[in-house]
């Protein structure tokens, strides 16, 4: 069974979002998503300074199996990316909510965060996908 921390927000496309005290959000892919993809071997991250729009592709994760797009959960400016993933993309498999974080966004409209799924809603969606 995959892990879905209650304190995070989620998207239908399997990203997770954590609000940070400085007003930014940290983004990664969920435990469920990494499990589906299998061993990750390459990650393409957005550069700091880039403007992203919610729902639009802004990163790519590639597993032994296939490439998958990662979408920006909210609009805003990329303020950091997890460069450790360049040499060790498997951090996402090992610790998807911790060391496997992907990038940080300074949201242009913080209200977009509230509109994201909570853990229960995300789990319900995952369960529905299985059937």
């Amino acid at each position: 069974m995959s892990n879905t921390p209650a304190e995070l927000k989620y998207t239908k496309s399997h990203e997770w979002v954590r609000r940070e005290p400085d007003g930014t959000v940290t983004v990664g892919i969920t435990d469920h998503a990494q499990e589906l993809m299998g061993d990750l071997v390459y990650v393409e991250l957005p550069e700091a300074g880039r403007q992203v729009s919610s729902g639009k592709e802004c990163a790519v994760v590639e597993s032994v199996k296939a490439a998958s797009e990662v979408y920006a959960p909210v609009s805003g400016e990329i303020v950091a990316a997890n460069t450790a993933l360049g040499d060790t993309p498997e951090l996402i498999n090992k610790d998807p909510y911790g060391e496997g974080w992907m990038f940080k966004i300074r949201p242009s409209d913080p209200k977009e965060i509230d509109a994201l799924l909570d853990a229960a809603a995300y789990e319900a969606q995952v369960a529905a996908e299985k059937h």
């Binding site: 299998g38 061993d39 071997v41 390459y42 393409e44 790519v60 032994v64 199996k65 490439a67 498999n93």
Partner: protein, 364 residues
């Protein structure tokens, strides 16, 4: 629900991630595909390949029939137990399937072919056999098959299955023997030493468990694919199919043009293609940048034109991306090309394959 092998329950109990493969529910991996890959390269792993098509062909004229049916020449098989890799071609020289054929005795040969091509293969074999009197084409669906591969595979199989199997440890590559109800061959799809074991379905689970007790790691189709790609082995339906000839698929070495008077299906077209030169060729690519090559990506070979990746992926042994690509004739090892990966042009080097053999990199 797809077809299930006799080991289906075993895979589920091992928490395998099951996927559909050519109509079969098969294990993709049992946790980590990369770990399974390394286990095969460094020690021993086992694959349930019971979905493969096993067909016995019996009759007095079986050798003559196979000399017509296959592009490689079964006349090379002179001692019982010998095995041969071959393509089976249509009349245009296109590949209907690739397979391994075993010479068991003068009236019995065994063919092991792909799973997804089963119906097409059987129809083609039966149809081609009509010219020969009294041949029996017998699919052996009651048999299961386990491939045990890796530097320690042979030793572990012999220990797990006991003394009667010992002599198999001395078999050279592409040989086979039958011990009791188990057919043992020194063939595989990983570029490592090992065995492929064919047995009655009801024996499969016990053999699997005996191998597990010897610490042979269950490995899924995912690892099987990265291992065969590193070994530079073609995958039917991806690297070749009915629209490509063996000469365009890096499989010219499997076509026996000698003796010149042997007629085999597809020969005329291949003769012409050999004389004029095949317009396309299969090469290996190594990505020089970060990223992952995938099948169907476009390969740009400067003045020589464009080609396409047929199989691409990440090589766990080399820790970089590799691929097989069908490119215009003239593209050769040492050259450089660029691959269109989601709109970005990434640098790749053309290399000879295999990329990895017996656990070691073959790259210069």
């Amino acid at each position: 629900m797809g077809n299930r092998t006799p080991l289906y329950e075993t895979h589920v109990a091992l928490k395998a991630r099951m996927v559909d493969f050519g109509g079969w529910d098969m294990p993709l991996h049992y946790g980590s595909q990369i770990e399974e890959h390394h286990r095969v390269r460094q020690d021993a792993g086992m694959f349930d390949v019971s979905h493969m098509t096993i067909v016995d062909i019996k009759g007095r004229e079986v050798r003559d029939f196979l000399r017509l049916l296959l592009a490689n020449d079964v006349a090379k098989l002179q001692t019982p137990g010998r095995a041969l890799y071959s393509c089976m071609l249509n009349t245009n020289g296109g590949i209907i399937d690739d397979l391994i054929v075993y010479f068991l005795d003068d009236t019995l040969f065994r063919v092991v072919a792909n799973a997804a091509t089963r119906e097409r293969d059987l129809a083609w074999i039966r149809n081609s056999a009509e010219l020969f009197g009294g041949l029996q084409i017998v699919p052996r669906d009651e048999l299961a098959m386990i491939a045990v591969q890796g530097p320690k595979a042979k030793e572990k199989v012999c220990r797990a299955l006991g003394d009667p199997v010992r002599p198999a440890e001395k078999l050279k590559p592409f040989h086979s023997m039958t011990v009791g109800e188990i057919f043992i061959s020194t063939t595989g799809y990983t570029g490592e030493e090992g065995f492929e074991l064919i047995m009655p379905s009801q024996a499969a689970r016990d053999i699997w468990e005996a191998l597990r007790e010897r610490d042979v790691a269950p490995a899924g189709l995912g690892a099987r694919d990265t291992l065969r790609l590193e070994a530079g082995m073609c995958l039917y339906g991806q690297d070749m199919d009915e629209t490509t000839t063996p000469l365009e698929s890096g499989l010219g070495w499997t076509v026996a043009f000698d003796p010149p008077d042997r007629k085999f299906i597809g020969r005329d077209v291949l003769e012409k293609q050999r004389a004029s030169g095949a317009p396309r060729t299969l090469v290996g690519l190594v990505l020089e940048e970060k990223g992952v090559l995938r099948s169907r990506q476009k390969v740009l070979c400067e003045a020589l034109g464009d080609g396409e990746i047929t199989s691409g992926g990440f090589s766990p042994t080399l820790n970089r991306s590799i691929a097989l690509a069908r490119v215009p004739a003239g593209v050769s090892p040492g050259m450089r090309c660029r691959v269109d990966v989601r709109g970005k042009l990434l640098e790749a080097r053309v290399v000879k394959y295999p990329f990895v053999r017996n656990g070691k990199s073959c790259l210069a």
